[in-house]
Symmetry: C3
Subunit: 206 residues, 3 copies
């Protein structure tokens, strides 16, 4: 059967029209998806978590000054409440004790491994009825492998198996970074030595 030319053309145009419509739909769909995830006024606010842009694991080692270990000590009590003193951590779960530290950072859990940097800052025991601390400190790196600092702040309810603190900034290799560090107590020996493992997950890298 011979088709009328108009009908034929119209039929082809219809197919073309459908194809175009479908393509345009796909494009609009892609746009809508992207608008939904990133370009709305909500752009700056609702962010996707996703995978960290950098993951790091370190250990750091704290030997607190107790009046007898001046040579080895890496930290010291520098503030206490009225009922405390600066060579013995205070009662009431050390509430109010302020400790300044300069702890070696190692890649494994061995205190005697070569340090790759220093953890420097302070912690404050801040609860009377259970051990809990507040931390403000930096990881300071100054080697050919790593150079720069990562700055941390946050609550450390240290009786929990793991606890999260904030990575609030960084410099050098860690310029402007942000993230979360998960701390866990890897060892705890009397009231003189403890070792923390820090699993650092950075979610903003520059």
């Amino acid at each position: 059967m011979i088709q009328h030319p108009i009908y034929t053309a119209s039929n082809q145009q219809q197919q073309l029209m459908e194809l175009t419509t479908r393509l345009v739909s796909v494009i609009l769909f892609l746009l809508v998806i992207r608008v939904g995830c990133s370009a709305s006024p909500h752009h700056w606010r609702k962010k996707r978590v996703g995978e960290p842009c950098k993951k790091l694991v370190f250990y750091f080692h704290d030997i607190i000054y107790n009046g007898h270990n001046g040579k080895n000590a890496t930290s010291a009590i520098v503030g206490t409440p009225a009922w405390g003193n600066r060579t013995i951590l205070a009662g009431h779960n050390h509430f109010g004790d302020v400790v300044v530290f300069d702890d070696p950072i190692t890649l494994d859990n061995n205190l005697h491994s070569p340090p790759v940097g220093r953890a420097q800052g302070f912690y404050i025991y801040d609860k009377k009825d259970i051990f809990t601390a507040w931390l403000g400190f930096s990881f300071v790196f100054n080697s050919t492998q790593l150079r720069g600092t990562i700055n941390f702040a946050g609550a450390d309810p240290l009786m929990n198996k793991t606890r999260d603190i904030s990575v609030i900034g960084g410099t050098g290799d860690f310029f402007m970074t942000r993230g979360v560090a998960t701390l866990s107590t890897d060892a705890f020996e009397g009231e003189v030595y403890f070792r923390l493992r820090a699993d650092i997950n950075l979610f903003e890298c520059w």
Copy 2:
């Protein structure tokens, strides 16, 4: 009137062409708008303020240790300048006094309301000629409703009706958050009790 088939086809094609062109224009326009608002090199820097992604209001209550209120006290002086002591806030507007706290957080301004979390950290009085403090602390939540921490730092010129400090990070329900908290002194009783209202406006939510 009977149209010539070619003319008809061409006419329909023209309409189709116009339709396609118009659709493509709209798409390109959308793309251009989006490039303008988000994908330039300025993307990371100039950000729009807009509405907060989360708004929260809490109260927290500080009862400072004065030598007699050990049971109720939620905070204690742990550092003072040479002229101070740790049971009475020092002269010169308490300049130099370091206070560690573990304060209950409530949803209303009643000290005896069930606490929904703890405000833990420290403040330092840091000005000789007027009351002013510097704050480093966390809101710690651990209930079925709220879990995680919000970390704060900043200057607190506490004689001002309101003052803004920074939300520098968060964990759990407040993972990676940033924002501004507006503090106001809701009550102040002698030198033993004060209550702060914190209006937290988060502008980065993940």
Copy 3:
């Protein structure tokens, strides 16, 4: 030669098809490029450094209380390790000394220039074998030119010519800002006066 209508229509449609295909390709290409540069799951993480959105230079001046200069002093020792006291910076490179300060900020390096704000917070000497400190403080501005705060935290290995700390947040004119401040010791006189220059580079402005 007169073309058969069908053939003609078909030919035109083919051209239209090609045009559409080409346009759609361009659009998809644009989309792909933008996906690559900004909208992937990496969007929030890998950020371009580029130029700061704001650059500021200030000086601040610290006069530490030594028992005799109560009138002029802008800072005081408020915590020390067991071997220290609060009118003389401790041995071992002042390890453990906590100093609270309220220092004038000036636009040039002259202590007597009119202050444009105050640097308020604390520093902690935190290393036994070299001078190193950890800083938590704010620049507080309250003039017609500048209003708001910039909050800082980080390690200050002060024997280095320059060292970087983090801008962790801000309020007012510096709402939500982030960046890096490069500190350098502009003057150091005995153990009583020092002057720091702060080159502030902000990379997130709102």
